[in-house]
Every structure is written in structure tokens, then in C-alpha cells.
Symmetry: C2
Subunit: 211 residues, 2 copies
DNA sequence: ACCTGAACACCGTTCAAGT
DNA sequence: ACCTGAACACCGTTCAAGT
């Protein structure tokens, strides 16, 4: 085979990637979504992107760093969807419920990605500052909404962070049960969301709603 | 080296294990507890038990089957602790809270084991009948307690399974946040448990308790 | 700076062979 | 039946070398 045209076209950028980091990350996300996280091999991503097995180490210290970046992107996307649900829902009690639905939907729509974020893979660098920042960001979307509902008198005047942890635990639990397939098909997720969020709101609202 | 005495002692059982399956499983549990699940290699367990690398395949079809057995044992242990908490707590509202505490404590005491049970490792055989049976068993401890509280008029007369899923989601969520280290040290877990179970009971009790 | 191929030390699993 | 060593096809990571 003769050398390809593209190799000769731009000598100042001799290799074929302007943004290899981005390409590798996208490929990793695709692989995780389609095949699951344990099908993710550095060699395969390299091959798919059209690059040597070791080129990845120019952009990520190791496999853990790549997974950390994947998790970071996940928290960013999750926060965006939570904020969107809160704002487009009118920032009231209904919007709060919409946030919960958005949270669970994110996990159900991206189960493997969600698992990387919360799966506790030892390979992941849990102390990475960017990961922590984005994780806090997603949590803060919840804190902000609760604080707003407290200000408007809809929710109990308990410690906001504690309330947010309580809510987070519930939506996280529902999400995990859903993606683990532990809920009855086909409507188990929807049914549990409706029930759980109703009982949640009853538990933390200012005025207890009866039945 | 001359052949050891033990080799000659009992020709009818020529090798050195009466219950290799049990020994392998125990070694796997120890490794998972001490070093985490991704340090678990079949070769290493074999070596630790004093057996060839491939002897394991006589008792487990593959690594996934071993992990499945580990998960199964976990669900059995969890159920035992839930039932113990419920019964020794007097089968009332306090006992219900004790079950929640017992659940979270199990996860916190055995984080790696708990993660195998719920981590969604693709390697695990999620369709294994024993795993499913034990998983259902643990869940049923919750269902039974709730049904009892409903009978005694303490809890709302909603669908018992749905209520149990709601409770399960919350304790599971609290447990996951705890073992992921996402709660403030050193008392974040205890504080959240107190708050979350209080609000949970308020949400699902017959008579709404005020503040 | 960025990328490469070869090499190293692993891993799960298979298989023919021993007792 | 149960166990063994050798072999196979992988994997993450390192490293000297190329442009």
C-alpha cells in the first residue's frame, strides 16, 4: 500500500487527531453504553479510534483516569437534567417531583454510565478534584431546590443538607433497584416513582397531607 | 522431598480437601472483604487454598458463578440480620427502625460484599435461581414486617409490595451513599439514618406525626 | 509533543493427562 | 470423580524508538 493522501496533506499536524482525548472519551462512553463497563478495554478503544494501544496514555494516566473522566461527564449531564427539570417545571412542588423523575430516568436511560458513577470501581480515582466538583454540583441542584421550597414554606425547616441526603438516598435507591431489574415489569419503575415521591413529599412537607 | 504422610493415609480420598467448594467460597469472601472485588483472581484463591489454578472449575462453572455464590451468601446473611432485628426489637415501629439500621450497618460492615450483591457486575449470573431465591428472601423480611405493621394499624393500607420497595429503595440508597463515602464524617451515616427513618415513618404511617 | 511496536507480567479458561 | 501442568488468547502498562 502506498502512503495515504492524508498523511502528506498537513505536515504540521502529522497524526490524524486534533482532539484525541475527546475522541477516546466519546468512544469509551459509547462502549460502556452499548456493551457495559467490563467490556471496556484500552486496546479496543484505541483500535476503534484508529490509534495505537498506548496513545491513550498521553491523555489519561491509566484506565482509572479514563473511568474517572467518564464519571465526571456523567455527573455533569445529570446535573444539567436535574436543573432543567426544576426550572422548566416551575420551581414548585411539581418541579421537585419532576426532578426525581428526571434523576431516575437518567439512570434508567444510561444504566452502565450511572453504575460507573456510583459503582465504586476501585480502579476509579475517587479523590479526583474534577469528579468531586461535578458530584457536588449534581447534589447541589437538589440542595438548591429544597432550599427554595423551604423559603416558600412548602417544606419543613430541617437541616437542608440532611434533607437533600434523604431525598438523594431515595432517588438513588429507586434508580439502583430499577437498573438492577429488581422491580416488576413493565411498569414497576413508574409505579414505584409515583408512590415513593408521594410518600417522600408527605414525609418532608410542612403540612402533612393525609391519604 | 518424600511423599507426605497424609497422602498415604487415606487412599480413598487421595487429595487434601473434604469440602473444597466451601473453602474456595470462604477464601473468596475473605479476599473480597480485605482487598476488594477487583483483587479477586481465581489463581490467587486457588493458591491460598492450596490447590491448582483450575481445581476451582470442578465446583464453579466460571468466575461469575463464584461471584454469584458470594452474592447468594450475602443475601442470606442480610436476611438473617434483618429478621433478628425485627424479632428482637419487638415487631413494632421501633423494630421496624431497627431493621433499617441493621440493613445499613450490614452494608457498612461489609461494603465490598454488599457491592457484589448490588454492583451489577456483568460477570455475575443474575438469573441464578439460588441468587434470586435468597434475594427474594431478604426482601420478604421487609414485606413481612410491613404487613405486620399494617395489620396492627400502624401503617397505611397501601399495596404492601410497593411500600416494601419504597422502604428498600431508601435503605439501599442510604447504604450506598454511606459506603461510597458521600456522607460527612464521622457521624454522617448515623445522622442520616435517624433523620431518614423518622421522615420515612412519617410518610407511610397511618397517622401523620407532626414535627 | 505526540505517537508507535515490542515486550512484560498478569488474567480467565481449556484441555489432555494423571490418580 | 477430582485434580494437575501446559497452553491459549487475552489484558493493562512500560519503554526505547521514531517523527
Amino acid at each position: 500500500m502506498p502512503p495515504s493522501k492524508r498523511a502528506a496533506r498537513k505536515p504540521s499536524r502529522p497524526y490524524h487527531h486534533g482532539n484525541l482525548r475527546r475522541a477516546l472519551l466519546d468512544e469509551a462512553l459509547t462502549t460502556i453504553r452499548d456493551d457495559g463497563v467490563d467490556q471496556l478495554t484500552l486496546r479496543e478503544i484505541g483500535a476503534r479510534v484508529g490509534v495505537s494501544r498506548t496513545a491513550l496514555y498521553r491523555h489519561f494516566a491509566d484506565k482509572g483516569a479514563l473511568l474517572t473522566a467518564v464519571g465526571t461527564e456523567g455527573f455533569r449531564a445529570l446535573r444539567e437534567q436535574l436543573v432543567a427539570a426544576w426550572e422548566s417545571g416551575g420551581r414548585g412542588e411539581d418541579a421537585f417531583r419532576s426532578m426525581g423523575v428526571a434523576y431516575v430516568r437518567f439512570a434508567v436511560a444510561n444504566p452502565a454510565h450511572y453504575r460507573v458513577m456510583f459503582g465504586g470501581f476501585v480502579a476509579m480515582h475517587v479523590d479526583d478534584p474534577e469528579l468531586i466538583t461535578e458530584g457536588h454540583g449534581a447534589f447541589h441542584a437538589l440542595v438548591d431546590a429544597i432550599a427554595s421550597l423551604q423559603r416558600d414554606g412548602f417544606m419543613r425547616d430541617d437541616d437542608t443538607a440532611l434533607m437533600a441526603q434523604h431525598v438523594w438516598a431515595l432517588v438513588h435507591g429507586v434508580a439502583m433497584l430499577a437498573i438492577d431489574g429488581k422491580l416488576p415489569k413493565p411498569d414497576g419503575v413508574e409505579a414505584l416513582m409515583r408512590y415513593a415521591f408521594e410518600r417522600l413529599v408527605t414525609g418532608i412537607a410542612t403540612v402533612p397531607r393525609g391519604s
